[in-house]
Symmetry: C2
Subunit: 285 residues, 2 copies
């Protein structure tokens, strides 16, 4: 029901965002959330509709979207990565505002290549994309096995992260493995190394692929206090000393250091990947 003319709301309620996919929905969700985030003053409710992989399911999705429209009185925003033309038509019949990702771009691409697409549902994320998939799971297992200085298989590593305890090495390693299929080990710099004033010797043969993480003492102290409140480990003084010693050690070894204080894991991962030699270029097999 629309609100009455007598008591107009200051502004219309925000549309509901629906992410529709014939597979896991990751692509539709990432694009949709990214587009919705461009309107920070709106309060969008969102809903994912994954595995819409038949004509019937597409019709059900369209009915659900019309139902949401009716309940909220606002025309929904639909972000669709459906590939099948009939399913896309069924979704469009909802008359919601459909951001049809494949519809928009596949036509442009096919016209240019001059050869038709062979729609394969969710191919990018499916196990069918076997090489890429296996390499990401292998990379994840590598990163888990080499976490925190365990199992020093550094010949196989694409990247070795160093830094003090709780500087963000583990989440970054796992994220890079899962997202990029890179084998990322990590090695903690501890007071024991600082006392000896030298970089752990296991790292020295691999300096070219070593990168450091640092952050401000205040932020480190906050993070450590969540784990061990009121400990010496978490005290601002300890954090200052360790970070100073670690930064000095990394700098004198010529290791590029990244400050993670105001960066998300995704940002750190993308910057680290960029710092390797052209890992962003992939040649076809």
């Amino acid at each position: 029901m629309r609100h009455s003319r007598e008591s107009p709301l200051p502004h219309e309620p925000s549309p509901t965002g629906l992410f529709v996919s014939d597979h896991t929905g990751i692509t539709a969700e990432i694009i949709g959330k990214s587009l919705l985030s461009q309107y920070p003053d709106e309060a969008f409710a969102t809903e994912s509709l994954p595995f819409v992989d038949s004509q019937e399911k597409a019709q059900n999705a369209a009915s659900h979207i019309r139902e949401v429209w009716k309940q909220t009185s606002v025309r929904p925003f639909v972000f669709s990565s459906l590939t099948d033309p009939d399913a896309r038509a069924a979704l469009n019949a909802s008359e919601a505002l459909v951001m049809d990702i494949y519809g928009q771009f596949l036509g442009m691409m096919t016209a240019e290549i001059g050869r038709p697409a062979t729609p394969a549902k969710g191919k990018f994320h499916a196990i069918g994309d076997q090489d890429n998939y296996t390499s990401r799971i292998d990379a994840l297992n590598f990163s888990l096995a080499t976490d925190d200085g365990m199992a020093l298989k550094y010949d196989r590593a694409d990247l070795i992260l160093v830094g003090v305890s709780r500087s963000g090495k583990t989440p970054t390693s796992l994220y890079m493995a899962m997202q990029y299929g890179l084998c990322v080990a990590n090695y903690p710099l501890t007071p024991e190394h600082f006392d000896r004033f030298e970089l752990p010797s296991v790292l020295r043969p691999h300096l070219k692929k070593v990168r450091g993480l640092t952050l401000t003492p205040t932020r480190l102290s906050q993070i450590r206090a969540e784990r061990r409140p009121n400990s010496e480990y978490a005290s601002l003084e300890t954090c200052k000393q360790e970070l100073n010693a670690a930064e000095q050690m990394m700098r004198s070894a010529g290791i590029p250091v990244l400050d993670s204080t105001t960066r998300s894991v995704e940002e750190i991962a993308a910057l680290l990947r960029q710092s390797l030699t052209n890992p962003t270029v992939q040649r076809p097999a």
Copy 2:
């Protein structure tokens, strides 16, 4: 240089795919790879150009794209998630085939909402999106801390995965934490439990959020053999027995079980998320 008329190639070489972003490039890369995967007969080289966050960098990116065009003799495909209108114009000046994600959809959305977008570079993945970001890192730490039956903080868990050793519990837990911000614990079912014919008692109060993973004995045996070749642990017989016992135990406890044999972690994660009560619906704060 184009190839000569006398010796025509069977078909033109494939265009190079370039992913251009003013931030980490994850969105542009996922969309671009997903679209390119619709042409399985092509052999696309790809390249990521992240952090194109100024007019000057956009012009440099356009020059680089023209250079790729010149070297490959094929008009490149550019997948761009640039938000700034001037930077988008600079990129379009490359005259490559630009799939301009924001250009295509933001106009539609703004016309509908009747209020302008406030472009914020890479907002979705930036640390600025603090709540979402913190919850994903918290979830990741939770999943690491509760991996393999450690630290049984199951009141806080959104989901508890069970299954035999190497059934895919750990990668699935970490992926769901990182991608969806869900706190996913996992607990291994071992021969010790099978001898007693009962579900581990720590799981019983939380049955509603317990899900099982299984796979074929052959696949499990392959996976285990990678870790411990020629062991009893990896033998087909052991795998058969453990899987049988585990499946029986899960079924009699009423735990929904998912077969991971031909599914990727992304697919398993999306299906598990769907099996929880409406976690795909998010209401604005």
